[in-house]
């Protein structure tokens, strides 16, 4: 495969798969009721 094309394809795949994986892992690690307080509510 053409190296430049490979770089673009790998970059695109890593970005979307990485974002998907990160967001789902983060969702699974956060209990639905375990929330951050709204901004500005902590003195």
């Amino acid at each position: 495969m053409n190296p430049t094309a490979m770089i673009f394809m790998a970059g695109a795949w890593i970005f979307v798969l990485g974002l998907t994986l990160w967001s789902f892992l983060k969702l699974l690690s956060t209990e639905p009721d375990e929330k951050l307080p709204p901004p500005g509510s902590i003195p």
Partner: protein, 529 residues
Amino acid sequence: MSDSAPAREAWGSRIGLILAMAGNAVGLGNFLRFPRQAVENGGGTFMIPYFIAFLLVGIPLMWIEWGVGRHGGLKGHGSVPGMFESIWKHPVSKYLGVLGLFMPVVVLIYYCYIESWTLAWTWASLRGATQGLDQAGMQAYFRSYVDLKNGTVHGFWTPFAFFFLTIAVNFWVVSKGLTAGIERLAKIGMPILFLFGAILVVRVLTLGVHDVIVDGVVTQSSPVDGLNFMYTPNWSLLGNPRVWLAATGQIFFTLSVGMGSLQAYASYLTRKDDLALSGIATAATNETAEVVLGGSLAIPAIVTFFGVAGATAIARGGSFDLGFIAMPLVFNQIPGGPVVAAAAGVMWFGLLFFAGITSSVAMATPALSFVEENFGWTRKRTALVLGTIATLLGLLHLVFYTRGFLDEWDYWAGTFGLVILALVETILFVWVLGPDNMWREIHEGASIRIPRFFKFVMTYVTPVFLLVMMLWWTVQEAVPTLLMRGIPADQHTVRWASRGLMVGILVFQLWLIKAAWRRRALDGKEVAR
């Protein structure tokens, strides 16, 4: 109204919500429109503006639409007119929100028709009807289906039967309600879509080298050539504004923003629900379907058997040629015989069907919520009436498809209208509500803290991006389209009738909004007494 508005249905689970939202976003465009846009706009270079637009327009609009939806939902509004009024207390705001009823209804009607093709082709693949056809035969098979005057291949009633079936399935799902209908469909449909997509990607990428005959000369081609075609950058196009707008447009369509359906789904969230992380998860799931699956299927498969020149010619014919003519031809040539060809066809059109139906049920939701909440109808009754209207209006698409009836709806409601709604809602949510309130709103119940940089992006960059896009499209496309430049004269009458009907739908919905608010005012007086 306050947060103590009448109790509404709620999502059964967080994963169900994200799958339903992602199902709404993942549509036919992920598999048919994206690869075409990429190859026509610089290949790998397209991915640069594409991801920049994703970060500066796509994700911010996701948060804005989820925020608008939840903000309105907490005040008892499941559709955009009420949501806008809950943000901007002005008599005009609810009428601006008509866009959030008009677009999903109009798009739903013609989208169901296209969705019915995927069902018809799944059935055709299953019984091997497209096997053995050459390119001319496959084109005739497609043209015969969409042109009722030429029903020689399928029979006159076949397109009607699949259209009725598609509408029935859609409205049956929405009539079951949020958790038992929409959420359950997403939990079944989305895993199947990804499974079918993954199997097809593995098969396509392992196709190996094949002989391609171009102008009598035999050359060799493989999926790698397809990926090179898709991703090799054309740097000269990076400075071209047309490419940037095409990339922004693709992000816009793929995430289903500016439609009114994301807001309707988000209206079922509570104040304790996260929308910051869930919005990212939804957008990322859609991008995986688009870039990883959509980008690795049609173009690499078609290049393998038709070469780059052949794929370019097919892509120029349009997304439907890519999906409904070229892909069945590819399946006919995949090693393994009729069984493999049938299985590949069922998986390809099956995944398109699930991509379509998880989007179309979302498009039905705003109108259903509007009627239920404002006129006190039951969901089943609303689904039955809306389904009947969609069927009757959809028949016009079947009859006049070849004369541009659908193209008009697709352009004005399914393309241009989306940018207008997105711009209006961004101005309302960010500027009328105020940047600080907007920021607080999207952080209510949030599982992550969004980087502060995005507050600046949502306040200034996203609205400017949308404004530029709208102005560009108005000059470049909307005016020539309105004046029917380049449209054959024999289509003008049908196209004007198509526009007239759209105006009629818009006026009717404005009247419905007026009637709904009058009814609310009367109910309010009743309560006051």
